[in-house]
Amino acid sequence: MSARNRELIGLIPASLLVTAGFAGVFIQRSNALSNVSLTYGAIFLGLCLATHIFIRMTLPHADPYMFPLVALLASFGIVMIYRIDSTLARQQAQWFVLGLVLFAVTIVWCRDYRKLERYRYVIVVASLVLLVLPRLPHVGYQANGAYLGVRIPGLFVFQPAEFAKIGLVIFLASYLRDTRQAMVMGARRFLGITIPPLKHFGPVLVFWGFAMLVLILLHDIGSSLMFYGALLAILYVATGRLSFVVVGLAAFAIGAWYLGTHIPHVHDRVEAWLHPLDPTLYNRTGGSFQLANAIFAQAAGGLFGEGFGQATLTIPGTHFILLPAPQTDMIYAVITDELGLFGACAVILTYLLFAARGFKTAVLARDSFSKLLATGLTAVFALQVFVIVGGVTRVIPLTGVTLPFISYGGSSIVANFVLLALLLLVSDRARRPA
């Protein structure tokens, strides 16, 4: 069977899920199945089909499983968001359309994605500017103490970090393709640790400094962990030196600890992470209320969950919000509440399968730049999942990044479709018969 036919069959689970999900939410609300819900489902499936045909025409050899996995996640997301707020679901559907348009544009413009290497300095500067934007007066937008948004007056709040992550990965893949040999060649071994020559170790220090800068700028451990983790992954694949990663992580840990105790907002997050059920922290503004309730929501879900539409988001009869930001940061808690441990595992495993296909693409790729690019994009994607789900499940301190393709949010949807487009481009080239 050809790759594209496998992709078409792979879309069946997503279509079943979106249909069953909408029906489930409707039945819970004790409304009859209305035409509107079927229309939503039909439009969503139509979009998936159109995208499939587009991939069939432009990237016939690309990995057949990535897009169906993304469709599955997106259908999951749109059902959850619909359940939380039907208005948001309509907006999300619009973002979905825009995301698919950018997906197509990326594929058409960057058909030979290796030409991106030529613009690597433009890309890295643009990415850094994007990252700094939220700290600029008038445009910057602070949510819960972290600087992650930019307000486009009258339009929407836009999260530049979602795009910056792609730009930084492109830059790094390109830069390390050139310097990886040099970094290894001049290295000396000292006490069993490979120490590269200082002039080549410089970039690692720069990355570390950069991650700390992100932490200072954005007040956000999670985002900086996501960026830095992806950088280390590319560095490790490029050089094959585990010592870089170990030294890099140690430096990050020290820096994060120091800044975690000195930036009040980050410190609060760490405190909430350590003692979410402490009553004083729970009741303090900016305390552990959100994290504690995320955990309570998961506990309410149990093994099988309470069912679609059954999670308690507000206290009935009042407007008291029990779970702040259910459609963005906390969506994993809502999923666990409604679908239980099994539903949550299904989501995690879907992401894991996507990551597996991403790394498989990197393995199959024939040139270093493609390998590093696919590794970096997959790593940053997987780490984003780890950072937000890890935050909600209290593996690490909670940070406000989105759950890719599931959380509500235009920037996230659009940026991740661009990421998907780049991965499929690499994959198509890698799998093309020689």
């Binding site: 992954a233 490790y236 694949v237 490029a238 094959g240 059920l277 009553p279 729970y282 504690a292 309730n293 955990i295 309570f296 929501a297 998961q298 506990a299 309410a300 879900g301 149990g302 093994l303 099988f304 969950g305 309470e306 069912g307 059954q310 308690t312 206290i315 009935p316 009869g317 009042t318 029990l322 666990t336 239980g340 441990l341 949550a344 595992c345 995690i348 992401y351 894991l352 990551a355 597996a356 790394f359 990197a362 393995v363 270093s368 390998k371 590794t375 790593a379 997987a382 780490l383 999942v385 780890f386 789900v389 890890g390 499940t393 209290r394 593996v395």
Partner: protein, 472 residues
Amino acid sequence: MNTQITRVFGLIVVLFALLILWTTRWTVIDAKSLRNNSLNDRTLVQELRIKRGQILADDGTVLARSVRQAGDTWARTYPTGPKFAQVIGYSLPRTGQAAGLELSRGEELRGVQTGLSSVFGPLTSNRVGDDVETSLDPKAQQVAIQGLAGRAGSVVALNPKTGSVYVMVANPGYDNNHPDAPGTTQFNRSTQANYPPGSTFKIVTATAAIDSGKYTPNSVVNGDSPKLISGVPLANDGNKSWGDIDLTTALTYSVNTVWAQVAESVGRATMTKYMKRFGFYSSPPLDYPPDEIRASDVHSLVTGRPLPPASPNEDIGRIGIGQGGLQVTPLQMALVAAAVANHGVLMVPHFMTKAVNQDGQTVETVHPTVWHTVMQPSTAAEITQMMKRVVEEGTGTPAQLGNVSVAGKTGTASVGPTGSNLTQPWFIGFAPVNDPKVVVAVTIERTQGGFGGTVAAPIAKNVIQTLLAEGK
């Protein structure tokens, strides 16, 4: 490079495994304690969403029911209000307050969880609880309330064979629709009071004397007044000297000096043994919240603190006539009469008779169970005959009930400072004598010289009459 890529993927697998592990921790391993965490408002919301079952009297009268509120939640209303307030209690999940049967039978009212749903968590949020059917009798309850006529006191009536409670009135009380209304009290005198039992306690002394084999109803004791008891003179009512009389006569006319001597002669150890068998020194195993029921016991007259059972500091002679620091609940005194009425076997008292689910299926039945075997049946028969004489010709004649023979014992405990005329009248008894179906304990607080026979016995008579007329 491919080896490194595989290793990076391996790391991602490990990280994602951590996520699943931690999700498992919250959804399964720690789920129970998290659901019960006091900060967790979800538990409260789920509580509000449960349609608790009704609480019903034995004639089907609704004593508590759920009414629908905004946001798919439920609240409780109590159609009979103050009449059964102390027994039924209330349930206010929003503030976490609950009392009475609403608390003690909360599990049934919230719906008994099957094993499956308690393991896998609530499968449905629209939980409906089970109806709790009780043995409470609204008519007799009303008669008891009218009998007290606003005076502080308590009436308890129950079935001696099964332990089913028919009546429990405690005055003053409150309206469980407004539990915190000022000027009302949730204190349940029937189960929480610390009253001196007066001469009603002579039933316990007589049981210890006869069942231990030291005395018979015909044993003769000198009933002159006063007598030195624990070195302090004790007088009979009106300082009357009765000469040598048998125990039946001494009970019929409630001769203090005789019973104080009997108690001293039986001794602390035996007296305490029988008190424990009657249920003293432990909370009655009623289906009622432990915070709202106390054990009847002996307190030091000097310090006011509880004395350990059979303490050498006890004045066992005066305890034998229901003074000497005895602090009892009306429920305990009803249980004393119940043990005699049921041939010496004391049954576990209970309100609930069964729990019925929404499909009309009985999901739980309360079967009569023995709490203690207090005395031999022969002793019980002898005590019954003695108590019958009390009502026939002694201090308890106002409890006479036409063609139904009643057995009983009056009590008139002195309360307040020495020399004051304040008394606490009591009556405990049962009927019919040959096949006891109803046991009653009645007491009224702080009357001006009222006697158990004249003040408490008529109330007991009316309650017994009402219950027997209903075919109990």
